[in-house]
């Protein structure tokens, strides 16, 4: 019994290893195929320029809290939060 159990574990491990291998093999290629762009770089620029805790007030607004925590997906749910303002008011830099 214990012998066959450990055999099972071994065979599961083998399956896992081969799966991981396929994903690891294709993963970066799939990402490159999806898009050549990398918006994370721009995000890093903005992070570097941002002043700590500016715009934190928005996290306390009722609109943000409802939007963030709502899980319902029902009729009255508003899945889109649109923050609007004129140029230079700091939309990009809100924390």
């Amino acid at each position: 019994m214990s012998q066959s159990f450990s055999n099972n574990i071994n065979s599961l491990n083998t399956v896992n290893v081969s799966n991981t291998f396929t994903v690891a093999d294709d993963g970066p290629n799939i990402l490159a195929w999806l898009s050549p762009l990398d918006p994370r770089l721009r995000h890093q620029d903005i992070r570097d320029q941002r002043v700590e805790s500016i715009g934190e007030w928005i996290l306390q607004t009722e609109e943000f809290r409802t939007w963030y925590s709502s899980n319902a997906g029902g009729e009255s749910d508003k899945p889109v939060l649109f923050c609007y303002g004129d140029p230079g008011v700091g939309k990009t830099f809100i924390r």
């Binding site: 994903v23 294709d26 993963g27 290629n29 799939i30 990402l31 195929w33 999806l34 898009s35 050549p36 762009l37 990398d38 918006p39 994370r40 721009r42 995000h43 903005i46 992070r47 002043v51 700590e52 805790s53 500016i54 715009g55 007030w57 928005i58 996290l59 607004t61 609109e63 943000f64 409802t66 939007w67 963030y68 899980n71 997906g73 749910d77 508003k78 899945p79 889109v80 939060l81 649109f82 923050c83 609007y84 303002g85 004129d86 140029p87 008011v89 700091g90 939309k91 990009t92 809100i94 924390r95």
Partner: protein, 189 residues
């Protein structure tokens, strides 16, 4: 905003994608690449690549010279990726998106929400695109007006004054006057 969402993403076990529009950089961008960049980030945030996406990749790779995904493929993949996990999509400066792209982008987001209504979409932009957003996402948008708050302005000024390289020209009364005058002027904007 992205960082705040990232901080909270752990507790919500969520995946996040962002895109920043920029007038200067947008010309060479195709809508497929823009939306593809969203899928790319969502997939990176999942434990494993969804089978539907790997399959699409293998099929297209088999084509002569390898084929790029079409917008309709990308939208399907966005729908798939966003239904695996709680998803946040952030789009900054949507008003700087090319006019021809804007409609396609909003339509794509609408399709994503139809498939995975729990997805949260965060958009910033100038007030004039509000009607365009409403046209595609009627009844599903909450609006927040962004204006600089007095405390934010003072924090920003302090930070910039701290980085000032010509400190000799600054004395405490000039600094105090800057910290008083500028926030007053801004609040009159």
């Amino acid at each position: 905003m992205i960082d705040s969402l990232c901080d909270g993403a752990g507790e919500q076990n969520a995946t996040i994608a962002c895109f920043y529009f920029d007038f200067a950089a947008q010309k060479e961008l195709s809508i497929t690449n823009i939306m593809g960049a969203l899928v790319k980030q969502l997939v990176s945030g999942l434990e494993e690549t969804p089978e539907e996406i790997s399959r699409a990749y293998r099929e297209q790779r088999g084509a002569v010279g390898g084929r790029r995904p079409l917008l309709s493929d990308i939208v399907k993949m966005l729908q798939t990726a966003s239904s695996k996990k709680r998803t946040f999509i952030c789009i900054d400066a949507l008003d700087e998106c090319a006019v021809g792209h804007l409609v396609k982008l909003l339509d794509s987001l609408n399709q994503v929400l139809q498939k995975s209504p729990r997805t949260r979409i965060f958009v910033t932009g100038r007030p004039h695109i509000r009607s365009e957003i409403r046209r595609f996402l009627e009844g599903r948008v909450a609006n927040v007006s962004i204006s600089p708050k007095r405390d934010d302005i003072i924090r920003y000024l302090r930070s910039r004054l701290h980085e000032d390289t010509t400190r000799d020209a600054m004395d405490s009364s000039l600094e105090a006057s800057i910290l008083k005058k500028i926030p007053e002027d801004v609040s009159e904007m």
